[in-house]
């Protein structure tokens, strides 16, 4: 029986199935999270795409696409493309779109998938690998041109513990929300520092050697459930996902909305981006200068590389003469800043200062 509280401005109803309904008819269907950062997934709403800015890409095996979202394309390349999409369910602005590029029959050891690896620091409280392992719930919105039983898995970093799961897409080209609740793993090794504490994989075509029975923990490197639908098996098939949330508890609560700046900072721990304007450096040759670019947030590990479009950058000498660099090379890094060296025509003066304008992505920090 609902409990109704009546006041001067209307009534509030507490109902075990409908939740809390306020006098203005707004409704809170599920309990609010008792802690901050309930969603351990970063960029679960797919709105940040620092690498490709919405452009379609055909990522290599192990490469990253939208921020924090990696792919498996093993054992053959170019079986699917990935793009940030604006095809979304109500309440979202972006999704991750996978498009199959052929009708490929997966081999027994193949794995085609998208995944997100969650840093150990952000799941250490789950207690996985102990008797106090917490129950967790994964929820997400999904849409595909295919229907049927799809699969995925929770995996540890060592690749020796996995929990394959299934979900059903009932209607083609229709957004559906799915929920997976799992009792945490009481055995195995689950990293608790800056390594991969937990990987969540969504299978797009996974071979029998990389699949196992759904709904049970297994000792092995499994990325999906036995018998799951292969997206890469149908040329032109589409698979969209967004609103991905992974939280403690046995109930899927509403998707956690984070401020854009907050989520961008979360992403930049794994993909630092620097945007410099006449940033000072020093010249070690008439053609070479070195610059240190500070990061907005400390990176997970120091970046071991960079990606840049030199033609979009400018190097200045002390008299403000400019040159377009022919090369911009990684030269060093800490988790707080990246160091790079430019090569230009001979406009610089040894020992004097120079300047740099341009944007750089720092690589090697993803999990």
């Amino acid at each position: 029986m609902p409990l109704i509280l009546t006041g001067t401005s209307g009534s509030t109803t507490l109902d075990s199935s409908a939740g809390l309904t306020f006098s203005d008819s707004s409704n809170q269907a599920a309990a609010a999270s008792p802690f901050g950062l309930k969603n351990r997934i970063i960029n679960g709403d797919c709105r940040i795409d620092q690498r490709n800015a919405g452009a379609v890409v055909t990522p290599a095996n192990g490469a990253y696409t939208l921020d924090r979202w990696g792919v498996n394309q093993f054992a053959n390349a170019s079986k699917f493309s990935v793009q940030q999409s604006s095809t979304v369910p109500t309440g979202f602005n972006n999704s991750l779109l996978v498009t199959s590029l052929s009708a490929y029959s997966v081999g027994v050891s193949d794995i085609y998938a998208i995944f997100q690896r969650i840093e150990g620091y952000n799941v250490a409280d789950l207690g996985w690998g102990t008797a106090n392992a917490q129950t967790v719930t994964l929820s997400f919105w999904v849409r595909s041109s295919l229907t049927g039983t799809f699969g995925g898995a929770f995996q540890n970093d060592a690749g020796d513990r996995a929990y394959p799961f299934t979900y059903t897409i009932s209607s083609a080209n229709t957004w559906e929300q799915k929920t997976i609740t799992v009792a945490g793993d009481t055995t195995g090794t689950w990293l608790k520092t800056n390594g991969s504490g937990l990987q969540i994989t969504f299978g797009l075509g996974v071979g029998s050697n990389r699949s196992a029975t759904a709904g049970a923990w297994a000792a092995g490197n499994y990325g999906s459930a036995t018998g799951a639908t292969s997206v890469v098996g149908t040329n032109g098939a589409t698979f969209y996902i967004t609103g991905v949330q992974f939280e403690i508890g046995s109930t899927a609560t509403p998707f956690e909305r984070r401020l854009y700046g907050q989520e961008l900072a979360n992403c930049q721990r794994y993909l630092p981006a620097t945007y410099l304007s006449a940033h000072p450096g020093w010249c070690y040759a008439t053609t070479g200068a070195i610059f240190a670019a500070p990061f907005a947030v400390p990176s997970r590990v120091y970046p071991s590389g960079l990606s840049v479009t030199p033609a979009s950058c400018i190097v200045y000498n002390g008299a403000l003469s400019t040159a377009i660099p022919s090369a911009i090379a990684w030269n060093g890094a800490t988790v707080y800043e990246g160091n790079f060296a430019t090569t230009t025509s001979a406009i610089l003066t040894l020992g004097q200062s120079g300047g740099f304008t341009g944007n750089i992505l720092w690589t090697g920090c993803e999990l």
Binding site: S304, S307, W330, N331, G364
Partner: protein
């Protein structure tokens, strides 16, 4: 895609791409996906251009 070896000003061995945009450069870091692609390129029988000081 052409890869070229180089040494950083601190003496570390690294690799940079030539003639493509965006240009990437990286250490010999197994965790770096650009390095992983470079290794596949080498395994396919390709050779990087030799190192010179940056």
């Amino acid at each position: 895609m052409i890869y070229k070896l180089y040494k950083t000003t601190f003496g570390q061995n690294a690799v940079i791409t030539v003639g493509v945009e965006p240009q990437v450069s990286f250490l010999f870091d197994p965790a770096n996906t650009d390095y992983q692609q470079y290794l596949k390129w080498v395994e396919a029988g390709n050779q990087p251009e030799p190192a010179e000081e940056v």
